[in-house]
């Protein structure tokens, strides 16, 4: 890692230079919320965002992605990445991207994801404003975000510390007036990123292993899960907004000529009714997670238990998006985990 400093006055021209060279996808205001969008001017950039509506996974794993096109029996893939910069990603989302990187390369590498990921320069930024349901300060707080090519920290009124972690990150230095950072600036940035963790409004205070064990042991407590899911609409918003959800469905569709068409993958949600349903013909079907409680249990197990061994941590990064997006306000992992821990400890 090498650290650089850029003054506030020079920062807008860095961004505008960058936009001229490469597509830059970064947080922008969307009415009173925020969204990762391609910048058309540096003024759109809102590094003071709290959390975006959708996580940045959409840049490598879009809500709809054509994975092949066919025409009368002939077919071809569609992978055609462009060099781009994903800018201003908060550490919790970097952790989520790092997890997804692993899961999309494990056993079988999915080039429909990795080609786009590899073509992207990932620039993180410090959290200037804390989202109202965030709990990243406590969950996976011991896991250091990795996978970023560079990381930007706003140092109060002076300017920004710009830490470079890879060649891709280093390339960006050409577009701004950077100078070597001082030890004090590096230390200040570290403190800023550390101190913000205590400001999360929500908290998962339990030991990681104890929590995983207790949640796993609650599997057969049908009443608890049914209670937790009682008001669930099975809409899947908690999945859609989750930075670590990566499930999908694949469907074909025809073009209007009825000869050509495409095979598309879509984000899918384990909280929806037919996610685990199969048809066996003759009007028979089997749904392996038929009840709302079973589906809620699956989601929580997947975030807090199932993937822990592979990932070395929970597959929840504490962004709080599911809590914000849930119409019935039952998706918040903090409340769910609390209920399970309380129940299990009498």
């Amino acid at each position: 890692m090498s650290a650089y400093f850029i003054e506030n006055a020079d920062f807008p021209s860095f961004i505008s230079q960058l936009i001229q060279k490469l597509p830059v996808i970064a947080p922008v205001a969307k009415e009173h919320l925020f969204s990762f969008e391609e910048l058309s001017s540096e003024e759109q950039l809102r590094l003071d965002y709290d959390v975006t509506i959708l996580p940045p996974k959409k840049v490598f794993f879009p809500p709809q992605q054509i994975i092949l096109r066919f025409n009368e029996g002939k077919f071809e893939g569609t992978v055609s990445p462009r060099k781009q910069v994903l800018f201003g990603v908060h550490p919790y989302d970097i952790k989520a991207i790092d997890q997804t990187d692993f899961l999309y390369t494990e056993k079988y590498e999915d080039i429909n994801y990795t080609a786009y990921r590899n073509a992207t320069t990932l620039v993180g930024s410090n959290i200037q404003k804390v989202a109202k349901r965030a709990f990243w300060g406590s969950i996976s707080h011991d896991v250091v975000a990795k996978g970023q090519d560079a990381f930007l920290t706003k140092l109060n009124s002076e300017g920004y510390l710009f830490e470079v972690f890879s060649e891709k990150g280093k390339e960006l230095l050409a577009w701004g007036k950077f100078k070597a950072a001082s030890d004090i600036q590096i230390r200040t940035a570290r403190n800023i990123n550390e101190d913000i963790k205590a400001q999360c409004p929500e908290n998962i205070p339990y030991d990681k292993e104890e929590m995983a064990r207790t949640i796993r042991h609650s599997f057969k407590n049908t009443k608890l899960w049914d209670d937790l899911a009682q008001d669930c609409f099975s809409c899947g918003s908690c999945n859609t907004t989750c930075p670590t959800c990566y499930c999908f469905n694949i469907e074909d569709s025809w073009n209007i000529d009825q000869k050509s068409g495409q095979r598309t993958r879509y984000w899918d949600s384990c909280m929806t009714i037919d996610f685990a349903k199969i048809s066996s013909g003759g009007g028979h079907s089997e749904n392996f997670r038929e009840t709302k409680g079973e589906r809620m249990r699956h989601r929580i197990m997947r975030k807090m238990v199932y993937l822990n061994e592979k990932l070395g941590t929970q597959a929840c990064v504490g962004c709080g998006r599911c809590s914000i997006s849930c119409t019935a306000d039952i998706a918040d992992p903090v409340h769910i985990v609390e209920r399970i821990m309380e129940y299990s400890h009498g």
Partner: protein
């Protein structure tokens, strides 16, 4: 900076490494097996042989309709072709079942773990197949019959709803006459021509003695597993020696899409064949 990704001299061709691109196969033969199922014999367009293990699955697709997971229904010991059976259920299977000899299908695979042949060799084997569960197990049955000397006693239980649902009728008549396999059949509901046993598949355990060192393979509708396992527990067969072939909604077959997940296991990549001891404690498995 150049705004495209290249390998220095030419545009990267990603298709070769794209796990979602299928291979074209030709339909060599189609047979109507039951009112709901059709039996296809397939071969790669270039005539090459597919390497696979009994119990593995394919993603079979028809462009414009979609892709479905299907177990291989023939043994790799057989010819330079392979079989699948498609039950008419939804959009994809209905479209595939309208195809004819000479038409093309598109496949990805083979995927997953098959029947553990090394654990089956040199021990008595019982295969319990219910309904369409005879398709993936036919791959194993053919394998055992082709390499009979590698295996010990071989018993096959096959149950269907009624005689019209019986698959592979030519095979069944061959197996009935064969000294190499003891076939026991049952139907839930008989027709006038049916001479055999009537009743659920577990009643077949009364017709033959199964020893406790038997290796057992089970494949059938979800409801069947519990009842068959109950019988096997009575005999005292170790759960390490019982292998179950599970069905799930495997959309990708490469452990990504999440649909087939049972606890921390993916049926497509960790299965579809599991030893019972590995999944008996996974609450959503059986």
């Amino acid at each position: 900076m150049d705004n495209t990704v290249s390998n220095g001299c030419s545009q990267v061709n990603y298709d070769a490494d794209n796990i979602f691109l299928p291979k074209q196969v030709k339909i060599l033969k189609v047979r109507d097996t039951t009112p709901m199922e059709r039996h296809f014999t397939l071969r790669y367009m270039d005539g090459s042989k597919m390497l696979f293990e009994p119990g593995q699955i394919l993603e079979v697709s028809l462009f414009g309709y979609g892709e479905i997971p299907i177990g291989l229904a023939s043994s790799p010991t057989r010819e330079n072709s392979f079989d699948i059976v498609i039950r008419t259920v939804g959009r994809v299977s209905s479209a595939i079942n309208r195809l004819h000899e000479g038409d093309s299908l598109y496949i990805r695979g083979p995927y997953g773990n098959g029947f553990k042949l090394d654990k089956l060799r040199e021990h008595p084997i019982l295969v319990v197949a219910g309904g369409i569960g005879l398709c993936p197990t036919r791959s194993l049955i053919q394998y055992i019959l082709d390499r009979r000397e590698e295996f010990s006693g071989f018993t096959l239980f096959y149950g269907t709803r009624d005689p019209s649902q019986q698959l592979f009728v030519d095979d069944l008549s061959h197996w009935r006459a064969s000294q190499d396999v003891d076939l026991f059949e049952t139907v839930d509901k008989a027709d006038e021509a049916w001479q055999g046993h009537i009743g659920v598949i577990t009643e077949l355990f009364n017709q033959v003695s199964i020893s406790s060192d038997t290796r057992v393979v089970i494949c059938g509708p979800p409801i069947m597993f519990k009842f068959v396992i109950r019988e096997l527990d009575k005999i005292g067969i170790s759960h390490d020696n019982i292998f179950v072939d599970l069905e799930r909604r495997m959309k990708c077959a490469v452990g990504k899409c999440g649909h087939c997940q049972i606890n921390d296991k993916y049926v497509c990549t960790d299965g579809p064949v599991f030893s019972l001891s590995d999944i008996i404690n996974l609450e959503e498995a059986l």
